[in-house]
Each structure stands twice: as C-alpha cells, then as structure tokens.
C-alpha cells in the first residue's frame, strides 16, 4: 500500500514539526488517514477484525509517538479501534441471529473479537455472556488464542458447511470493512459538526446582561457566544489576551465584528476583573478521564480566581477531546515548552548571557496548563452538559478497555 504509506509519512511529518494546530484539525486528519488505511487494507478470510485492528494499531502507534502531547490523535486511534470492535460484534450478533447452526466450537474466550461463522448454540450463549462479562484472564491473553483458535475451528467445523461458510465469510468481510468505513465517516462528521451541537446549548446558559470572561481563542467558544447572540441575548465579553500567542486579540476582533461588546484585558488583570464577571467560558485542548482539563497556559490561574469568587468555570469540549487516560504529573508530562523568543528578544539578552559574572538565564514558555477537576463547574460537550465527575463514564461509550495501550507488545507478529 505505497500511497497510504506516503500519506502516513506525510501526516507523521506534520505532527512532528507541529505544523497542524488545533485538536479538531488534527483529529479530522487522523480520522481521514485511518479511513484510507482501513479501506486499502487487504483483509484475510478469517479474523478480519483482528487484521484491521493490528493494522490500525501499527499506524496509530507511530502517530501517537510523533506528538504525544497532541492527545486528540490518540483519541481518534482508539475511537477507530473501538469502532472496529463494535462493528465486528454487531455483525457477529446479527449473524448469530441469522444462522441456526450446530457446529461445535469451544473457544468462547475469543468469541468477543472473532468473526467466526461457526457458531453453535453454545457459542451463541458464550457470545452473549462474553459481551457482558468483564475482561477475564482469558480475554487478556488476547493475541495468542487467535492463532490457536484457527486450527480448532477448521477442525471442529465440518466440510459440509465449508462452502456456505466461505461465502458468508467473504460477504461478511466486505460488510465489516464497509461498516467500519461508514462509522469512521460518521466520526469525521461528528468532529466537523461538534461546534454546532455545542453552540445549540448556548442559550440555556447565557442570560441577558451577563458578563463573560474568556482567555485566548477557541473556535468552540466563538461559535458558542455567537449562537447566544443570534438568539438576541445581549451580554458583554472580557477577553484576556493569552500571552504569548495573543490569540485573545483575534477572538476579540471576531466577536466585536459580530456585534458583541468586547473588552480586551491583559492576563494579569484577570483577578481584578473577575469580581464583576458572571461566568467564565473556555475551550480545552483535551479532557482527561478524571475530569481534569489540559488547557492553554494561564487557565489554571483563571480557574483559581473563578473559584475564589464563586464564578462558574465552564469548559467547552467536543467529544473527540475526551481522552481515556488518567493524567499523572500533567504539568510536565503532557506539556510542551515553546521557543523563548516569544518572550524575549534574543538580541537583548545575548550580551548579558556572555558576561562573566556567572549569572545564568533560563526562559520557560509552557504551552499548556492543567486544571484539576475540582475547579471545573461544568463540561459542555456535543452530548450535553456533564459534571467533571461524570466524564469517566463517557469513556465507555467511545473507547474499549483493550485499546488504552495502543503500543503493541513486541512478542506478537500479526
């Protein structure tokens, strides 16, 4: 698959060089890339889901390694893996309903991930049971049973069913790919339209004559506020600049152009102004499983000030930003330090750096801040509003437990 290979390499380069900005753009591109990988993947007759999964995993591992801080990439990889598993499972259950079989099959441990057409009543019951069963030791030894199972079923299945089975298998194989690609298309669609879905909820949260504070720029926040403006709510917005990128200037210009009363303040004035603010609305870079937020730098300060003044701190995040990982030391591990030239001119300080007095200078320019879940009042996602303590439940909707570690174990070869 040379063209997919080149696509993958291109995307990897862009990620490594940080050319892609924003989690929505990254997520969309990642999803489209994985869609091409899937559509170009040649699937074997059996164990198609397995093959798909390992192919996606191979690519996904590289993508995540290229930019570990861009959590949206990992989210999309895991979403696609979950989609594959789900589609496979739904096809399997549909096939179970359709066929009445009596073939023997005793490998119930990998029915969950298998696309076996050989199904007996026992297997049906096993399938039903395994979908509801928590992961057992058998399901955890996921890779080895596959190769062990293949001779099993070929031995257990009779030749009488061979032909019909093979026909079913190939049609099922095509169907699996088709279904998966359809679902990935839906995912891409969701990512593109997350703004509208979040913006629909704006009217419920913004009343007349409110004063809203935000920092930096986020397209979600822009759409949110404009949606409220469309519904004839008049309110004022304070936009903090968001040094050192100064995206707040952009947002303020946009908002003023759309007719909202906007005031630009410096980041240092946040504490001074927040006593007159009714609500803080911000976007996020990523939302972690514990409800914590990886946000542009400066938002932890805003969240602390909001807590002090009992101002609700509302985070807008599309569902592609929800990451199933729990953060550990996120200020350091999930952060990126950017160039010091954004803070200081190189020329000004090169002289004093050369001086022999022994003074040393170290410039710190982090990109992200971690906001702990206790400072967040509400998450507004495209599925509605949620408490930070609820976010871990949403993970079960979008991700499978098997996919949390995308990195493949070196022992496997498939």
């Amino acid at each position: 698959m040379p063209d997919v290979h080149t696509l993958v390499n291109e995307f990897l380069n862009q990620l490594k060089k940080r050319k892609i900005e924003g989690s929505q753009a990254t997520a969309k591109q990642a999803a489209e890339l994985l869609r091409s990988v899937i559509s170009q993947q040649r699937l074997p007759q059996t164990h198609q889901a397995t093959a798909l999964i390992s192919a996606v995993r191979a690519v996904g591992e590289k993508l995540i390694a290229a930019n570990p801080v861009e959590l949206a990439v990992g989210n999309i990889v895991r979403r696609v893996l979950h989609i594959i598993r789900e589609e496979d499972l739904s096809l399997a259950t549909a096939a179970i309903d359709g066929l009445e079989l009596s073939a023997v099959s005793d490998d119930e441990d990998d029915v969950e991930r298998d696309d076996y057409p050989v199904l007996s009543a026992a297997a049906v019951a096993a399938a039903a049971r395994s979908t509801l069963r928590p992961p057992s030791l058998q399901t955890l030894l996921e890779d080895t049973p596959i190769s062990a199972a293949i001779p099993h079923t070929s031995s257990s299945g009779g030749d009488s069913e061979g032909k019909s089975r093979s026909v079913d298998k190939s049609s099922r194989g095509r169907k699996l790919k088709h279904d998966v690609i359809e679902a990935v298309n839906e995912l891409i669609q969701d990512i593109s339209t997350c703004y509208e879905q979040i913006a629909e909820q704006a009217v419920e949260h913004i009343h007349q004559n409110e004063v809203i504070l935000t920092l930096g720029s986020s397209k979600t926040v822009l759409e949110f506020l404009c949606a409220a403006k469309e519904k004839k709510r008049s309110f004022k917005v304070f936009v903090a600049e968001g040094a050192p990128r100064y995206q707040g200037h952009l947002l303020a210009k946009e908002l003023a152009a759309r007719g909202l009363q906007t005031t630009v303040i410096t980041d240092s004035a946040v504490f001074a102004m927040i006593s007159r603010v009714n609500m803080v609305i911000v976007g996020a870079h990523a939302v972690m499983a514990n409800g914590g937020v990886i946000a542009p730098v400066g938002l932890n300060m805003v969240a602390l000030a909001a807590q002090r003044h009992a101002v609700p701190f509302v985070v807008l995040a599309g569902s592609h930003k929800l990451c199933p990982l729990y953060p550990h030391n996120p200020e350091v591990l999930l952060n990126e330090l950017r160039s010091p030239s954004e803070l200081l001119d190189f020329g000004e300080f090169s002289d004093c750096m050369d001086s022999a007095s022994g003074g040393s200078l170290h410039v710190v320019n982090p990109t992200f801040d971690y906001v702990p879940p206790k400072l967040v009042s509400l998450f507004i996602t495209d599925t509605g509003g949620h408490n930070p303590s609820y976010m871990y439940r949403l993970i079960a909707d979008y991700y499978s437990a098997d996919d949390l570690v995308v990195k493949r174990r070196p022992a496997t070869t498939s």
Binding site: Y246, K253, A272, N300, S360
Partner: protein, 506 residues
Amino acid sequence: MAQIHIFLHAFILFLSLFFVVTNEKKHETVTEVCPNTPSVSPPLKSKTTKAERRALQEAQRAAKAASKANGNSAVAESGKAALAKSKNQSSLKKDGPPVTSEVTIDKKSGNRPPEKERKKDAPPQRMQFDDQNRVGKAKRRALVNQTEAKNRVELFRHLPQYDHGSQLPNLESKLFQLDSVHPAVFKVGLRYMAGDISGVNARCTEMLRALQEAIIDYSTPPEKVLIRELTAKISSYISFINECRPLSISMGNAIRFVKRRIAKLPLSHTDVEAKTALCSDIDRFINEKIIIADKVIVGHASTKVRDGDVLLTYGLSCVVEMILLSAHDVGKKFRVVVVDSRPKLESQALLNRLIAKGLSCTYTHINAVSYIMHEVTKVFLGASAVLSNGTVLSRVGTACIAMVAHAFSVPVLICCEAFKFHERVLLDSICCNEIGDPGALATVPGRMDINYLENWTNEENLQLLNLMYDVTPSDYVSVIVTDHGMIPPTSVPVIVREYGQEHYLI
C-alpha cells in the same frame, strides 16, 4: 470714611476667622490622632462649630459690604479662600487629587460646615469622573488639556480615561506660558506623563524634591501669611501633577505630611527660617521614611532567604531588588524566578540587573505561574500601598501571583515601607484604579506578526482596558515586611493608628 470703616471691620473679622479656622483645624488634628479622649472633644467641637458659623456669616457679610463698597475684592476672596483652603486640606487628608476644585467647595462651604464636622471621620468624596458637573468644572480649571479616550470602558466611567498620545507635546509647548507652575514641578509632571518615573518610591521622592525646590524659591507676597499662601501654592502644584498622572494613594501620605508641617510652622518664623525648616523636614521624611526604611526592610527580609531557596518576584520593585542583591552579596545560594506581564514588561530591567550581578534567574510570563509555582519556595512582592483592611494595592497581576502561591502553599512576603500604609479600605480593584494607555495593548513590541488589533479604534464594539493596579486580598498575604518589623496583614490598621501620630509629630 464709611468705606474705610467697613474695610477695617472686614479685615478684623477676616483675621479672627482665620485664627478660628486654624484652631478648628488643630482640634481636628487632635481629635483625629487621639480618639481616646472623647470627653475633651465634643464641647470643643460645638464651640468651634458655632464660632465658625458666626465667623462665616461675618465673612459673608463683610464680603458683601466690601464688594458693595467697591473695595478690596481681594479681602473677600481671601476670606473665602482661607475657608476653602482649610476645607481643601481636610479633604486632601485622605487622598491626593485635589481636583475636587476649590470652586465647588466655595459654593458648598456656606451651608455645609456643621455636616462637614460630623462627617469628617468618613473619607471625603474623591473626584468621580462620571459626575458631569464636577468634571466640567475641573476641566475649566485644568492646565493640561486631556482628550477623552474614544472607546471608554463603561465599568470604569468613574475613572479618567484619556487619550495618551496627545498631551505630552501640548504640555511641552506650554512650558513658558504656565508661570503659575514652578519649573521643577513642571519637569516632574512632564516626566510622570512620559512614564519616565515609575514606582511609588521614585515618584514620591521626585515629587518631594520638586516641592522642596519650589519652597526654596517661594517668597511670600506682602500682606499675606506664609502658611496660607504656601499651602495654596503647594495645592496648585499637586493638582497640576495630578493632572499629568493621577497620584497614587501613598503619595497622598507624603503630601499630607508636607501640609501638616507647613501648618505647624510657628507664625513668628520669618520666611527664611520657615523655608529652611520645611526643607529639612522634607529631607528627613525622604531619608527616614524611604531610604533608611528600605535598609531596615532589607535587613529583615534577608533573614528569610535561605540557601537553596527559589524566590519568585514580579514586576519592578526597588525594595525587592535590594533584598535579592543583598542576600546574594552575603553569599546565600538561591535562584530567582522573575515573572513578567504585559504591557509594561518591567521585569526585563530587573532581570538584566540581576543577571549582571551574577544571580541565576528564570524568566517567564504571568500565565506560566501555575507551571513554575511548584518549584518556588517563597514569593517576594512589592506594594504601592497597603490599606487598612489588610489588602495590598500594587501592580496589576500581583493578586494573581499571590493567589496561585496560596493555592500551592507558598508563603507570600510583601515588602513595603510604613509610609505607604493608608486608612482607606478597598474591596476590589474596580473602585479605585488607574487606567493606562489602551493603545499599549494593541501592539506587542518585537512581534510584528501580532497585529490583529491594528485598527481597534474603528471597531465601535471593541474596547481595550489597560489597568495599572490591582488589590490583593489579605488572606493571600503571609507577612508584610516593613521598617517597623514583620507584621501580619491584620496589624496594618494598628500601625496606621499608633505610628500615625509619630509620623506627624516629627
């Protein structure tokens, strides 16, 4: 003949009025400073009230008679002016800007003295810029023409928001026309407006030096009393300086000191003696309250710096710089984190000086404070003023730093001299603040690509707000290091009360 009689009558009354007024002022002083002697004050109060009212009526009658006689309008004016000056002094007790113009006080003073007596414990009204009448009157008397900023922020209508580009050349051109303003004072005003001097200590020192020069060059006109005239002149200088750049709260303390020293001058002093006394007083104030106080503070605070410390500082405070340098000279091993913020980016100057002296520094901007705070062991901050409810007024952003430090359980030490303590109380940063040049926000020096706000004045919905100060609540402050020692923020009103009298009885 009748005219001369009336004139003499008026003059005598005017003199007696003056003495009554100064007596009343002294009583005010006494009652304010020693409120634990209430038994003494009420009868005195009522006596002066009545006396003052009678004197006022006499003065008004005399003024009418004098003007009818077509005589000395100067007498009437000076009679009124004396009253106005005393009122002005009591209104200036609390804060700098005397733009509460004498014209309005004149009109009100006839009916108001009894209420003024009763209300004197409450701080008088500052100039509120949303009051159209007073703004109009102040503008008519103003020496500096300020043009209002085009996109004003509604929340701050009570503060002056001026267009900052225009007055400097305007004022420079008036240099030779404004003979009512002493050249030294004019120079200081220009430097304030240009932003050359920043930081309360520097501003205070410069202003006091300029006043010193003005006092030295002052000479009493004939038939006038030094105290009144000098006070009037100083008030006009202060209002000029205030128009150039609004005075900060602690500068009001210094001005109050000067005026009290003038008022305390014995009448028997000649001009020369009075002037030398005043100049030496001002010298002593600067020396004791600023220079020596700084040394004491440095001594106290250096004991708090230990080997292996990581100290965070924000903005450009001369006291904190002195502390860091002296601790380094003593040989302690520590690191400094310098936090900076827009639009002034003042900390870069501090950073330069620290590195030149050999300290190892980390530089970052205020948004990254949460990132860097887990490495920091202590936070040293300067202050512009400390208020009686323990809150600290200082450069905007200090409150954010103190809040994040508090969240990470890092102690916050505020270093400021005792002359910055003030009786005012403030709850938030909106009611009393200074608004700087909004155009400074639109451009980022050194970053040509950040030009989204180039034409911000054309957008009618867009305002830029450049606050200069903010108020840090007292629970974020661990200790305040002053020349009286290291005190908790709850002890600030005690210092104001106890050492206030010493301050004025030097």
